[in-house]
């Protein structure tokens, strides 16, 4: 009743363990087709499954990649993790996801746990641009690490991110093309590199005195707070760019309750193109990240020699997805 081992397969097929391994692991395949057939047949018949612990011990690789995200409460990060999982699985690996609870201390702990555990490499979406660096730097001494979607200063590590500046430009150009010129920004979490970049790009384009509502966190509730503030001054504003979809959702629902029409009086855009945009009428214009391409690139870097992961930021082009919230 005990699980069959490679040895059992080899004996059943009348070959040595080495040959059985060559066939089943697919290493330099110089094996007589007839023997290969016999090995495969025996493996199937016995229901053989390779013991990953043994393989990992011998080869020193586990086929597992870890990713630490700021929080799974934001559906964007669920989507992001899912995109990575697709790529990892396509390559025959497995993904382990950890939640940092938006806290750099928890983040550092999760990183350590994953490294202790059994990952070949680690992707990190750092909680904070300023404070996540050291933990990442320490991790990178133990295993390949690539930052994803956000960067962190002093991390010593490459980051694969969205070009947030270009994204902001896309949104502003789109709104201005619709003849909306009194544009406000609703943003949160300037601790993250993406939040900071989006804010900076907005200020750069619209001037420092443009209306800006900064919130403590990327949540729908924060979006609601912003909605109340915007509603108060809605006659001076005809468009709102939100730094995240979750903000836009709360904002739109509050505006509508305050009898401010979207997009009639105020056009609204989100950021990240998560599925929750479908929650409300009207659907919300947003920015889509090329997550599949970003994930592919990040995984490539993870397997590349260390010097290719030198600290820098690689930016991927955003795509504007126009919906009724700006187009009505």
């Amino acid at each position: 009743m005990t699980a069959p081992r490679l040895l059992d397969v080899a004996e059943a097929a009348g070959v040595s363990r080495a040959t059985a391994s060559r066939v089943l692991a697919g290493t330099p395949r110089n094996v007589d087709p007839e023997l290969a057939r016999r090995v495969e047949e025996a493996a199937r018949r016995l229901g053989y499954r390779t013991n990953h612990s043994a393989r990992a011990l011998r080869t020193g690789t586990t086929g597992t990649v870890g990713v630490v995200v700021p929080t799974l409460a934001n559906p964007y990060f669920v989507q992001l993790a899912d995109a990575i999982a697709q790529q990892v699985r396509a390559a025959g690996g497995q993904l382990v996801v950890s939640d940092a609870a938006n806290d750099t201390a928890v983040e550092a702990e999760q990183i350590e746990t994953l490294l202790d555990g059994r990952v070949d490499g680690l992707l990190v979406v750092p909680v904070s641009a300023g404070a996540s660096g050291p933990a990442v730097r320490a991790a990178a001494r133990r295993a390949p690490v690539v930052l994803f979607d956000r960067w962190a200063t002093d991390s010593g590590t490459v980051a694969v991110t969205l070009d947030n500046t270009a994204a902001m430009r896309l949104l502003l150009d789109h709104l201005e093309g619709l003849d909306r010129h009194r544009i406000a920004l609703v943003a949160a979490d300037q601790a993250s590199s993406s939040g900071a970049e989006r804010l900076a790009a907005f200020t750069e384009a619209r001037g420092a005195d443009a209306t800006t509502v900064l919130l403590p966190s990327f949540t729908t509730d924060a979006g609601r707070t912003a909605g109340r503030r915007i509603a108060e001054q809605h006659t001076r504003i005809d468009a709102v760019v939100c730094g995240a979809d979750v903000l836009a959702v709360g904002l739109v629902s509050t505006l509508q309750r305050s009898a401010v029409s979207v997009p009639g009086q105020i056009a609204v855009t989100g950021f990240d193109d998560t599925e929750i945009l479908e929650l409300l009428d009207p659907p919300i214009t947003s920015i889509r990240h090329p997550l599949a391409a970003m994930a592919e690139r990040a995984l490539t870097l993870l397997q590349a020699p260390g010097r290719e992961r030198a600290e820098r930021v690689e930016r991927f082009p955003p795509r504007l997805v126009v919906r009724a919230s700006t187009d009505g």
Copy 2:
């Protein structure tokens, strides 16, 4: 530069590998305190981390638990996975989450992958009560498996679930206490055991001719469709029980757009108490699952001897969380 091994620690501490292992792994701890101190000191100084592949190979256990959920697009399952992760981590383990894309074929594949890979045990939230059984049964021959939140017929395996009948009773009693008697059900996914149980409990309590809107899937979009249908006949209805929060969210937003007031004209309840309930005004009354207790129980069963996992359903008590959508 190569990572220190147990042997290195043992030599640095002047003891044998066996003793070092006894100290660091915490096995039958009959070790001289002085030696133990030296081992721990050496381990710290060298930055020793135990090689989990080697341990797994020797002991035959990985300390990893897997969970397969129907879809991560529904935030309820994200919360559920998170609750399990908490418990697993508290026990010093790691959780691997897989998404079955609401498809029993994908589900079967994910189960196999997880088992091949490196899990000691598996929790499954089966996609379908009728069709997920065989894959679960097959899995249970290879490793301990416990169903979670839903059951599946012919799975041969214990399920740790919510008492959906009691939950439905809580909701109906609550609504009737508020003098709402013309209650409709909006539900989806009768393929899942939870969906089927909720529908059955509703029909049992309200009679077969009560208004029931059945939808093809548990999504917000489906909720919107339901909203349109309910709005058409809103004079004959004064309350709607939704079989899932995501449905309630779509429903409420559509009712409001149709100028049907919630809860003024129609009270609405959700199911699962996910955080998206905060998305809309008013916040929505819902049913909270005791996820922590359920997760703890499921993990206990996973480690128990096989006979304790005989096919049956264990039901946990729901809690009614009253919010403004039924209380305005």
